[in-house]
């Protein structure tokens, strides 16, 4: 079924202009009539998102969650952040959707239909944490350019697909392969068809991991349009921009992939630490790989007031890019003392881990509960902002919530 054919069944204008999906009965629309979508742009209905999500940008669409909306162990679509560099594809022809594997380092270019991809290779399902490289950008001083994400550009959903490694083995890869780069169906903001909004990738070592999959299902269902329907590469633990949506082609490169947003300052941080506000030359910027250790208190919502003597049960999730979280602590005295939390093992590698603790407060007053995760290498979250960088990536400072005891 073509994605647009179901549009006819939903309300006429709702998806039309915003999603860029074709307006099915457009010849019947009276002249000068303004489509509903133009009168009321409700992204929450459009993308089935919780009303508590925050729209940072409506062209292109960028929407983030709030900590308390991420309380589920596996994040449902309604709380998943939306990050777009370009415009969502206007027409998805799923029957004729194909994936081509090409590039300097394939023995022979090969194309698979979506059906072929699903039937030929074994399916795997993993919970995988995806976090935007710029999550937390809003806290940098001097401010960094881009969408001002606070804490909500992270989630962990269940993805089902085939391993990229299995597909690459079927294609045949040369020994000189160093990197993969994806190409997708999204549209450049300028609508210039010769430009790609984003085309990123990762080294072959990441491509060949068990958990790097070409996914066609999220949380057991077709991937929602805003999240890459009908095919998306998922590379958990790395900046979510490596997990290309609306996937059409993967190039196996004999150089570091040089697609859009791979070069310059995009998704890069200074190779050596710099002072806040310092100018950094492009060649001094290094590509972000694994994301740093981080955690979120997802319950209770910040602002809880409870009576003296009552204990507070807190819970949340912790993740550490390629690594596992080995220790989880909380503090109610601004880091003077830390108490340990229970932390569960991940459902699988690269899935976020759940923590919980029972917190007591010594007397009435204002408190902040701070959470701090430590990864398998003994590296913890900083309480202050980590090293400043020109584009404001990798802010993994401790999350905190406000609590009042009365």
């Amino acid at each position: 079924m073509k994605r647009r054919s179901f549009v006819a069944k939903s309300s006429l204008g709702s998806l039309a202009v915003l999603l860029g999906v074709e307006v099915v009965y457009k010849e019947l629309i009276p002249k000068d009539y303004r489509l509903l979508a133009l009168q009321d742009t409700d992204p929450f209905k459009l993308f089935n998102k919780d009303e508590g999500m925050v729209v940072l940008n409506d062209k292109p669409w960028n929407i983030e969650a709030q900590a308390h909306l991420l309380d589920d162990r596996v994040t449902p679509n309604k709380s998943i952040f939306v990050r777009n560099n370009g415009l969502i594809p206007e027409e998805i022809d799923v029957e004729n959707w194909s994936l081509t594997i090409d590039g300097e380092s394939v023995k022979k270019k090969k194309t698979y239909s979506l059906t072929e991809l699903k039937s030929k290779f074994k399916h795997h399902t993993y919970q995988l944490t995806l976090e935007c490289g710029g999550n937390g950008r809003s806290e940098f001083d001097p401010p960094a350019k881009g969408n001002q994400w606070t804490i909500g550009a992270v989630y962990c959903a269940t993805w089902t697909g085939v391993r990229l490694r299995d597909v690459l083995e079927d294609v045949g890869i040369k020994d000189d392969a160093v990197y993969f780069g994806y190409h997708a169906a999204d549209i450049h903001l300028s609508r210039d068809p010769t430009k790609e909004p984003i085309s990123r990738g990762a080294p072959m070592s990441k491509a060949l991991q068990d958990e790097t999959i070409l996914a066609f299902k999220m949380n057991g269902e077709d991937i929602p349009l805003a999240h890459g329907y009908p095919l998306r590469i998922i590379a958990g633990g790395w900046p979510a921009s490596v997990s290309g949506k609306w996937l059409q082609r993967i190039s196996i490169r004999n150089i570091v992939h040089d697609g859009t947003k791979m070069t310059g300052t995009a998704y890069r941080v200074p190779c050596k630490p710099v002072a806040p506000g310092e100018k950094v030359a492009d060649e001094e910027m290094c590509i972000i790989e694994s994301m740093p250790v981080k955690s979120l208190i997802t319950y209770p919502k910040s602002g809880a007031t409870l009576s003296k003597g009552k204990k507070l049960n807190i819970r949340g999730h912790a993740w550490a890019g390629e690594l596992e979280v080995t220790k989880m602590e909380y503090s109610i005295d601004f880091g003077s003392t830390w108490q340990s939390c229970r932390v569960e093992k991940p459902a699988n590698r690269l899935a976020w881990q759940h923590f919980s603790a029972e917190v007591s407060f010594p007397q009435e007053g204002y408190y902040e509960v701070w959470a701090k995760a430590t990864d398998a290498n003994g590296v913890s979250q900083p309480m202050l902002l980590p090293g400043w960088n020109p584009k404001g990536y990798l802010n993994n400072a401790c999350h905190r919530i406000a609590v009042k005891i009365t």
Binding site: N57, K59, P143, Q148, L189, S302, G303, E368
Partner: protein, 162 residues
């Protein structure tokens, strides 16, 4: 007496005149109805399922389009100040005004952002408007000092029931 007769006569004429006008109007209306019946014997114009129903055109509200409320341009959210129009015209074609408003940069960084957009995003040469736009942005959206970790603000206090 003569005056009375004259008045009577005058009144009679006026009466006749009114009747003639009334008759003319009735005849004219009748004629219109007749002509209409000849043209449209099914009276289709009065039927609700008629596809030829005239579309009432709602004017695109020019007022709303450029409406300013409390110093804010309602459609884009921009602060009303010199340079706003140039900013709207040049900076909201490809992306939303929300992307501009949420960023805080000095003139040097705006300049390099504009250059980047021209090199990679098909932004045109802004000419004299470049300085006008940059001036508008640095004046109305200056960087705020937040330090190494800001105080928690906008806390929505609620009673937690467990």
């Amino acid at each position: 007496m003569k005056k009375q007769n004259n008045d009577k006569l005058k009144h009679g004429f006026q009466n006749l005149y009114q009747k003639i006008i009334l008759a003319s109007v009735v005849i004219a209306l009748g004629a219109i109805v007749l002509v209409y019946f000849i043209v449209d014997p099914n009276l289709s114009i009065f039927k609700s399922d008629n596809p030829q129903t005239e579309i009432v055109t709602l004017p695109i509200e020019d007022d709303d389009f450029n409406k300013i409320e409390n110093g804010i341009h309602v459609r884009t959210g921009f602060i009303e100040a010199p340079g706003m129009t140039e900013t709207i015209q040049n900076c909201t074609n490809c992306h939303s005004s929300k992307l501009v408003i949420q960023n805080r940069m000095n003139d040097e960084r705006w300049k390099s952002t504009i250059k980047w957009m021209q090199e990679t995003q098909n932004l045109w040469d802004l000419g004299e408007n470049e300085d006008v736009i940059i001036n508008y942005l640095v004046t109305n959206y200056p960087p705020k000092k937040v330090g190494r970790r800001a105080v928690l603000t906008d806390i929505d206090w609620y009673q937690l029931e467990e």
